[in-house]
């Protein structure tokens, strides 16, 4: 793999929400990870893989309800949870974390592992506030790429009626047409690109 391929592979995976301090971004050994999966073998597998990524502080929990309780009292940098759990589904778990405004980890990135990758399940995960979905079978390459992407490309955290979680927009496309949004007006008069250019000390490039 070339360096270009490597960077492309990271960008082609997908995105996330939340900003981690720079010293933790560069070094996974400083991360605190909560692992939630009812299946002992899968939990052990993911834990071993994460350990080999040099994550030292790993708490693994069988019961997702206990995981929700833990997230109320202990600060975590990342959660990896299973989609299919009997006591509480991965979606319900995510909603419980996102919807509780007393939760100290409300904005924590949640990577969900699933073998159910039908479109409706992906959309449901997105709408529950899942940061990243990782399709099974688990591969170290895919998991590491997701981890890097989560911390290198944080998405803004959104709280609007009906949704709390990382912004569901994955691509931010620059709009080149006229900006007619009312929210951009100030004191009754819309600011133009030229105004911004002047205020920010940038030349107006429309005529260029």
């Amino acid at each position: 793999m070339t360096d270009t391929d490597y960077r492309h592979s990271l960008h082609s995976t997908s995105l996330t929400s939340w900003s981690l301090p720079a010293h933790k971004r560069a070094d996974f050994s400083k991360l605190s990870l909560l692992l939630v999966d009812e299946n002992n073998f899968m939990r052990r597998l993911v834990k071993q893989v994460c350990r080999s990524f040099e994550i030292q502080d790993i708490t693994d929990v069988t019961d997702p309800r206990a995981a929700v309780a833990l997230l109320k009292v202990k600060r975590m940098d990342l959660v990896i949870c299973e989609y299919l759990m009997r006591q509480m589904s991965g979606l319900a778990f995510t909603k419980a974390v996102r919807s509780d405004d007393t939760m100290i980890n409300r904005e924590v990135p949640i990577i969900m592992l699933t073998g159910h990758t039908q479109v409706e399940n992906i959309l449901a995960a997105r709408d529950a506030g899942v940061t990243e979905l990782l399709a099974k079978p688990l591969s170290p390459h895919a998991l590491l790429s997701r981890l890097i992407y989560v911390f290198e490309h944080p998405r803004p955290f959104v709280q609007v009626p009906g949704y709390v979680g990382p912004s569901r927009r994955r691509r931010f496309v620059e709009w080149r047409g006229e900006d007619r949004r009312l929210s951009r007006s100030y004191d009754g008069q819309a600011l133009s690109e030229a105004d911004f250019g002047r205020l920010l000390g940038r030349p107006d490039q429309r005529g260029a």
Binding site: M1, T2, D3, Y6, L10, R25, A26, N39, F41, M42, R44, L45, Q48, V49, R51, S52, F53, E54, L84, G115, H116, K136, P137, L138, S139, P140, H141, L143, L144, I148, E152
Partner: protein
């Protein structure tokens, strides 16, 4: 951002970690297959030629099969994954239909195939024999609901 060499070092280390769990994977697979056979027997306990299995029992079988499919992929047991994928489709179809004698036979053939592949620890897709096996099981599954 991690450098490419660090990325490759971490992947190498993780692949070794997965390899270290291979023996445990075989135990887990054997255990899952034992539970699957038992749960399938429970699901079709009525013993009639045509029975309606309880959706909850079928769901248990489906979840176990799905787990087998996922684990197989991680540990290069593609043949296990392929057979389990076919069985998942069959069990999903049975959620909304009666379990005919043909369907029951097809499920049992899938389980027996998984047991055989596990017992022989066949990695990869099983070669020409493996591909023929999957094709045969898929055709038998499709024939359950044909006509």
């Amino acid at each position: 951002m991690l450098s490419l060499s660090d990325f490759e070092r971490l992947i190498g280390s993780a692949e070794s970690a997965v390899e270290d769990l291979r023996e445990e994977f075989h135990k887990e697979l054997t255990d899952c297959l034992g539970r699957l056979r038992q749960d399938w027997t429970t699901a079709t306990a009525a013993g009639d030629a045509v029975a309606t299995a309880a959706p909850a029992d079928l769901q248990t079988c489906f979840d176990l099969t799905h787990q087998i499919k996922s684990m197989g992929g991680t540990f290069d047991f593609d043949l296990v994954s392929d057979i389990a994928a076919s069985l998942c489709e069959l069990l999903q179809d049975l959620q909304s239909r009666p379990v005919s004698a043909k369907a029951r036979d097809s499920v049992e053939r899938h389980i027996a195939a998984l047991e055989l592949v596990e017992a022989r620890k066949l990695r990869g897709d099983g070669g020409p024999f493996g591909r023929q096996l999957v094709t045969g099981l898929t055709e038998a599954r499709q024939a359950c609901f044909a006509g």
